[in-house]
Symmetry: C2
Subunit: 253 residues, 2 copies
């Protein structure tokens, strides 16, 4: 692709994974919350994601945005997610309108639907023989205030899609927490998104054509309670990893 | 009912309609944004709905809340709805948890789903022979930033229901804008909620048993694109009015 792609939240775990995996694929612009320890090789910006004066210059000439910036803590307090995540996402979309950005890929989260994991359903729903699936058409059930903010961000994107015709893909990201699936942790194995699949699904979301989508971002784990059908059908997502192919930290298949 | 009910946004149009209609039915506590011109006959409070110090005293001893307070303007700017509506709704739920409130009836809005009214569907969807219906299971499509804030409020309520077992009913209120249906305005006739039905549906929501609900609040208009099935089934809502029974400002049936 010729036109620049902006990655917000470039300093976070997901951001670094995407940039490392797709460094040579796009003409990147990176946005950090604060000055990165290591200077990146591409144009970068620092600032508050809820501040238009900080976001707008980063969006100049950009064709697509991967918006990850925000408070990533699962137990982040309300006022932090209200400001950084909800207000921040609004600012990113406002800047996208200002700069005629065509596409926004938004990092939503498994926490937007975390309260589906009820006492009645767990731990069975984390097992390979369980058929419970979320597919992105269900109404959100946030498990914490971070999850509220992520679900609100999906709704903000819906408005900007309907009103300004921006293509929006919300990826409800699972757990990108290890180079291998979590050990002895059923939920974590169901939620695992490998490093390679994380970069790949964001690559797919940048390349595919769509209007407004909500997809789940996990590897093709035998254990899962998220449907990958929509990501496969619309984004052409072809996950290569599966937590069942690992025994502890060793790949066995 | 013996235990007090708090009505926030008591000074607004919907608030006054509910209080007038149900004055003798409940032991009311009223919350206003600013001092009301006429002193109410019941305990009342004034303050900012996003400020816990203002909301918490109003919630003391209360069993149920009808939460209407917020910026009601359809074209309200983002920072007003972020503060008054989104943060305000969070504060109301936090205070509800603090005071062991059992039930919250939340004034959502037709604007949470306003973008379903596409150029392709209108004006046909406003007509009695059109079968398009929303029933509350669809993902929101806000038509403006006010609508974003209302949809976000529904999600906040979902969290507080799941986490604290508060019964939550979100009423997507249509248009309570006249003593009679709007004249020569198809959308308005489809969206009409009469004064009597407005008080009645909130009475139903205070009396019924439910976990978490999203219902539509309009009269039983021949013209409609909201299903009333859920309100009828779960709340026992029995609307008595229908915009088709009016010719201009005259009731003809």
């Amino acid at each position: 692709m010729d036109e620049p792609v902006l990655l917000t939240g470039a300093g976070g775990h997901v951001g670094r994974t995407i940039y490392e995996g797709l460094k040579d694929e796009y003409d990147w612009r990176l946005m950090y919350h604060s000055q990165p320890a290591e200077e990146p090789d591409v144009p970068y910006f620092t600032g508050e994601v809820q501040d238009m004066d900080d976001v707008s210059p980063a969006m100049e000439g950009v064709n697509a945005v991967i918006h990850l910036a925000g408070d990533p803590r699962r137990e982040a307090p309300w006022h932090s997610v209200l400001t950084n995540n909800i207000d921040g996402t609004h600012t990113v979309y406002e800047a996208a309108v200002e700069h005629d950005v065509e596409k926004v890929v938004y990092a939503s989260s498994n926490h937007a639907v975390g309260a589906f994991e009820t006492d009645e359903r767990t731990p069975e729903m984390y097992r390979a023989d369980d058929s419970f699936r979320l597919d992105g058409t269900e109404l959100p059930r946030p498990g914490n205030k971070y999850g509220i903010s992520k679900a609100a961000g999906e709704i903000i994107g819906r408005y900007y899609h309907d009103e300004y015709d921006i293509s929006v893909c919300n990826i409800r990201i699972g757990n990108l927490n290890e180079d291998h699936p979590p050990i002895d942790y059923e939920r974590g194995q169901a939620m695992w998104l490998s490093t390679a699949d994380c970069a790949h699904i964001h690559d797919c979301a940048l390349k595919a054509d769509y209007d407004y989508e909500i997809v789940y971002g996990i590897s093709d784990n035998d254990r899962k309670y998220y449907s990958l059908e929509r990501a496969k059908d619309v984004l052409n997502y072809k996950p290569r990893d599966n937590s069942a192919e690992w025994d502890g930290a060793e790949k066995i298949v």
